[in-house]
């Protein structure tokens, strides 16, 4: 299972409505940290984020990803929204 599949599996605990993961690793190939893992961009929509500040949302994501944050993921850019927020902006 590659890292993106493992991320999806672990993020399932947040009961997401949608998960979109982009791999930006190629933009960072060769830079010092790149050997500990990839650079990813995550957009996740989950009702669990309701009532949470951005920082708490990011913590929920980091907690769900657990050991992947130490091995597999070197950098992660997170956009975490609730279904209501998505509907109100579209």
């Amino acid at each position: 299972m590659n890292v993106i599949e493992q991320m999806r599996e672990r993020l399932a605990v947040l009961a997401p409505e949608s998960i979109d993961i982009g791999d930006d690793s190629h933009l960072h190939a060769g830079h010092a940290g790149a050997r500990d893992g990839g650079h990813f961009r995550l957009t996740i929509v989950s009702p669990r984020f309701a009532g949470c500040r951005t920082m708490e949302r990011h913590r929920l994501v980091y907690d769900a990803l657990g050991p992947l944050m130490k091995q597999g993921i070197h950098a992660l850019s997170i956009t975490a929204q609730t279904p209501e927020e998505i509907r109100s902006t579209s």
Binding site: H31, H58, M69, I78
Partner: protein, 106 residues
């Protein structure tokens, strides 16, 4: 003084502390570069920047201290504000400027 005490002393002894990769002049990572730019845009020209690449003990220690797995990490008055995504979001919403205004050194 162990590493956690040392970090605690740094973040509580200085109003604005950024744990980053590289220095503000020569950031070694795009996320750290963005964090520095945002601080500058908020009028924070002088802040304590700690280069985690210079000391593996600090690099691991700050992740444990903030219970936050990534770098950069911004601390204001001893509190973890977040990483570069959160700084960007707060800056775009005008919240970070408000929080940092009393500390700005123009």
């Amino acid at each position: 003084m162990d590493i956690q005490q040392k970090i605690h002393a740094t973040v509580t002894g200085n109003p604005v502390v950024l744990y980053m990769k590289g220095s503000p002049q020569f950031p070694q990572c795009g996320f750290s570069a963005r964090a520095v730019q945002i601080l500058n845009a908020c009028g924070i020209k002088e802040f304590v920047a700690v280069d985690v690449l210079a000391d593996p003990e600090v690099r691991d220690g700050i992740k444990a201290y903030g219970n936050w797995p990534t770098i950069p990490q911004l601390y204001v008055n001893g509190e973890l504000v977040g990483g570069s995504d959160i700084m960007t979001e707060m800056y775009q919403a005008g919240e970070l400027q408000k929080q940092l205004e009393p500390l700005a050194n123009a």
